[in-house]
Symmetry: C2
Subunit: 586 residues, 2 copies
């Protein structure tokens, strides 16, 4: 790809820069993290004028490589204070890649409280993209489900959209970057870390892309690329988790509910238990059954064009009309088990409101659970939870607290059982019952994040090996290996879910490397993947260290060290030395 | 002193322990910080079961040394996450010292949401103190002005009281430890750092002391002590700032308003200017004039028996009846200049409400200023500010936000101009206009704290030397010297205000050392004072490092590096290396 598009919102200027040599082999997370490290002073205020936000499609994004429509968004996070990369699947990065844009770097600051829409369109005459800044104040203060159709009306059905909801406008620490799904819904999110508020702090409301007429992504070695592409497709079509009709496709990511509940690692009622008596009612199986019974809705829905796995879903109302897309595993957990709620319709409505306001569902569910812990409502009270979400939308003082994420809400409500690391609430896997994921939560550069080193694969899914989730030994090595490989996958533009297939099917992994080599002209092998990933992690770690993070922050919340988790009645007993070994041995 | 009184609130047990050899020469801050360092794991949750809270009178407290009725309270702070020592003047530490209690260490955790009153009384028969635990739920949820008279009714006029208000009960990050003043008012505070919530988290509502019949504090060398005592008294009576009728006595600490305003260092409207057009109306001079005109009230009021300086005040209502005691300089600044409010009656009411609820006035004023910055009310709107304080008292969501201190309120409201360090809001001196105090704010182990190294003395008051406030050079050395000497003074039990006299009058400083030697049997000289202080600071620093603090936290908020402060139009331009030199050269 040819350009880095640098936009300065102080004066709404932009320029297309040549890609510096040092960034040429980077994409996705590798690129966002390196640009943030190179250009942002680690001690800046995340919502101040000196932070920057970077959008980067992955290395193979925009090609016809399967399941590769991921975009990385990077910045210093207002939620965690760390460097942050949060990625999503959408046609948006495919548009950028097709227009030759390797990254968008947005700097400067909102002027006169005004919001802008950045319209990036392929200019056929010039053979390069054009950029326009259009006033966007008309979209401010409104729900994204209201605004997205207007944007499609105005710019066409074929465009892609990124932007922020009212959560970002209000500078909530919980605010995501929204992307369109395959049908144009505001439902795909770079949710974690409050990056929506960073974008909003620059005065950017939306980025709309129109790649019409843009050429294909150039390939250094088309034959090699095609060879690799086929190997990966074959692996994805073969693996039981990723294949058509397989676990993810048939039941969505919520296929995990019953599995993780069985393991005793489904955090329930703000991490008071690892097993939820209502698990079956909020599971992927229950969603599939609901779709079948009600008509309408859909399992096996793709988030972006070209995905084989197709793990998204559309959840229907009782009358079969569409309620919301998508309820992921982490979402049905966050609003379900973690809040003691076993009603899928309630979970669907909480999800819809999150999408509409521009919130991360994991952080939002975690925060409602904190409100429950604080006694504002009972665990399990779905209707009251929906009312709280409306407060978030309205921006009342209570809504502002809840929009601030679990760690801040915990401080405001005086709750000490806040299951977060570095200010980010833990997702849907109990680290006391599944120790490897606890090591990832503690040590990842991102704050508590399952995607950063998904040891769940071997600890609960027998993928990429088989490891006792309750065992302590070796979990530092396990997490390190997953974190390094993940940082690489997050750079390719592939969805992390390819990991199931490529960890178990060696030719699949070879295929990914051949795809990258086919695009970049490199000679990477499978062995290079974790090395490339480790280099990215080291850059992120250096940023965090300069921002003031130490080993003391690479720990789980104190209560998990002394409070026993049912049903296994276990604490988090991975020694500090094991946690520290993750980066010391990298 | 003979005992360390260790109380465990898990089972309301206690024991009187012998003072370990290593603590024998410590008192006040030196003792609280060492006990916290020795006994509290730095990564514990400050409001969890594994934090401890320590009360320690100073080395000479309880003797007839002048101006020595200070108590240090130490714990890991919920506001800052650092070690914390916050001290106040009251008869309470004099009671402890007379009963032979060198420190109270409170550990364990609140059980069954119940609160207790710890009643410590001298037992003449046994010749030692007795301890009782009395149910205190009847005092919960009520204002301290309502409860204190009941406690005096119940236990006698001569008792001393420490405890928490509703701010602590609600676990606000802004919550102080209250102490009685000389007339029994709930008006003396170990205010900073949220220690009230730590005490409340143990289930302790009040500690009541009755020393009736207790012997004098034993002296190792009574003659030497008396010699030192007289030297200090002479110095205090001679120095223009501390002498009877001098600056502090005649006009209270608010004598500083006009002085610091003239320097251009009076932070105004959330640190947007260094000069307040309404300064004269909220000054010590204005308070004295108000008292004169209205009748009632009083300047030159002592906070504890045996103080020569007597810098406290009682502010009258328009009809001459008592409104509140005390409006300190930092208080009239926090609710006044920093909120753009120039009405002393409004400031008095905001102060009274803070005392009643158990809040730190510096943090509270700073937080109201953040609410003003966020647009919840206009700068200068005193009536609305009073309404907000009632919200804090009621514990509404808005009140909870405001009770969480400026840093958290800033996060919730999306305000980036938060003038704090390590989560604690800056007090009444603008670091851009008075650089030395900026070095102290940045580097002290306490979060932004003027008392930790009061370079204002030479930078604005020509005391302890004379230094250009706007100069950068040498400010690291200056702050280090003040921080070290302060840590020593905070350990003696003397009020920090003796520093004016002892820094300018060498015999006064000698007197302090002779007092200490007279109590302890040591041979300390004036040269030992900063060395002893530095050792305390190093212990505090070690705690903070293990808690996760680094150089990156020893910085002022970013906006002060790029936003120019009127009237001098200066940024904070002390280089990082100068800041780092404070501890590197210690």
């Amino acid at each position: 790809m040819k350009y880095i598009l640098r936009i300065n919102m102080n004066d709404r200027s932009y320029r297309f820069e040549d890609v510096p040599e040092k960034y040429k082999l980077l994409g996705g997370r590798g690129l966002t993290s390196n640009i943030v490290y190179d250009e942002v002073v680690p001690t800046v205020h995340p919502l101040g004028p000196n932070n920057k936000i970077v959008f980067a499609p992955g290395i193979v994004t925009g090609t016809n490589a399967s399941t590769s429509g991921r975009i990385s968004v990077g910045a210093k996070s207002p939620l965690t204070g760390t460097i942050k990369e949060s990625n999503a699947g959408s046609s948006f990065p495919q548009d950028l890649a097709r227009m030759g844009i390797k990254a968008i770097v947005i700097e400067g600051y909102q002027q006169d409280d005004k919001y802008w829409l950045i319209y990036i369109k392929w200019n056929k005459e010039k053979g390069m993209p054009s950029v326009e800044f259009l006033p966007a104040d008309e979209y401010v203060g409104r729900g994204l489900y209201d605004v997205f159709p207007e944007l499609h009306e105005r710019f066409g059905k074929h465009i892609s959209i990124s932007g922020v909801g009212i959560a970002g406008e209000r500078r909530y620490l919980n605010s995501g970057i929204v992307f369109n799904d395959i049908d144009g819904r505001p439902s795909r999110y770079s949710g974690r870390g409050g990056l929506g508020s960073v974008l909003a702090s620059k005065g950017v409301k939306f980025i709309v892309t129109d790649r019409s007429g843009a050429p294909r992504v150039p390939l250094a070695d088309p034959a090699l690329f095609e060879k690799g592409r086929k190997k990966l497709v074959d692996a994805l079509r073969e693996h039981p988790i990723t294949k058509p009709g397989g676990g993810l496709n048939a039941l969505g990511t919520a296929v995990l509910v019953n599995i993780i509940n069985e393991v005793g690692g489904l955090p329930t009622r703000n991490f008071r238990s690892g097993r939820f008596e209502g698990a079956a009612k909020i599971s992927g199986e229950a969603m599939a059954q609901m779709i079948k019974e009600r008509g309408g809705g859909r399992m096996g829905h793709p988030c972006h064009p070209g995905c084989i796995i197709q793990c998204s879903n559309i959840i229907p109302n009782p009358d079969g009309s569409e309620h919301v897309s998508v309820i992921e595993y982490e979402t049905t957990w966050a609003f379900g088990a973690n809040c003691g709620i076993d009603d899928l319709d309630v979970i669907a409505e909480l999800t819809r409101l999150s999408n509409d306001y521009g919130l991360d569902t994991i952080e939002m569910g975690g925060t409602i659970a904190i409100a429950m812990e604080a006694g504002l409502l009972e665990f399990g009270d779905g209707q009251k939870a929906i009312e709280l979400m409306h407060e978030v939308g309205k921006g009342t003082p209570l809504g502002r607290i809840l929009g601030s994420g679990a760690a801040t809400a915990g401080k405001v409500f005086g709750v000490i059982r806040v299951p977060g690391v570095k200010g980010q609430n833990m997702p849907a896997y109990e680290p006391r019952a599944i120790k490897g994921i606890g090591v990832t939560y503690a040590t990842t550069t991102m704050g508590a994040d399952h995607t950063a080193g998904y040891t769940i694969a071997p600890e609960a899914l027998s993928s990429g090996g088989q490891v006792d989730p309750l065992a302590v030994e070796g979990k530092g090595d396990l997490s390190r290996a997953f974190q390094a490989t993940t940082a690489f996958i997050d750079s390719t533009g592939h969805c992390l879910f390819i990991a199931f297939a490529i960890l178990d099917i060696p030719t699949g992994f070879e295929g990914v490397m051949e795809e990258c080599n086919g695009v970049l002209g490199t000679n990477w092998t499978v062995e290079d993947a974790p090395k490339i990933g480790a280099e990215i992690l080291k850059v992120e770690r250096k940023f965090n260290e300069a921002a003031g993070f130490t080993k003391a922050h690479d720990r789980l919340p104190e209560f998990m060290y002394y409070e026993k988790l049912p049903p296994h009645n276990v604490t988090f007993d991975v020694p500090d030395e094991e946690l520290d070994s993750v980066f010391e041995k990298m």
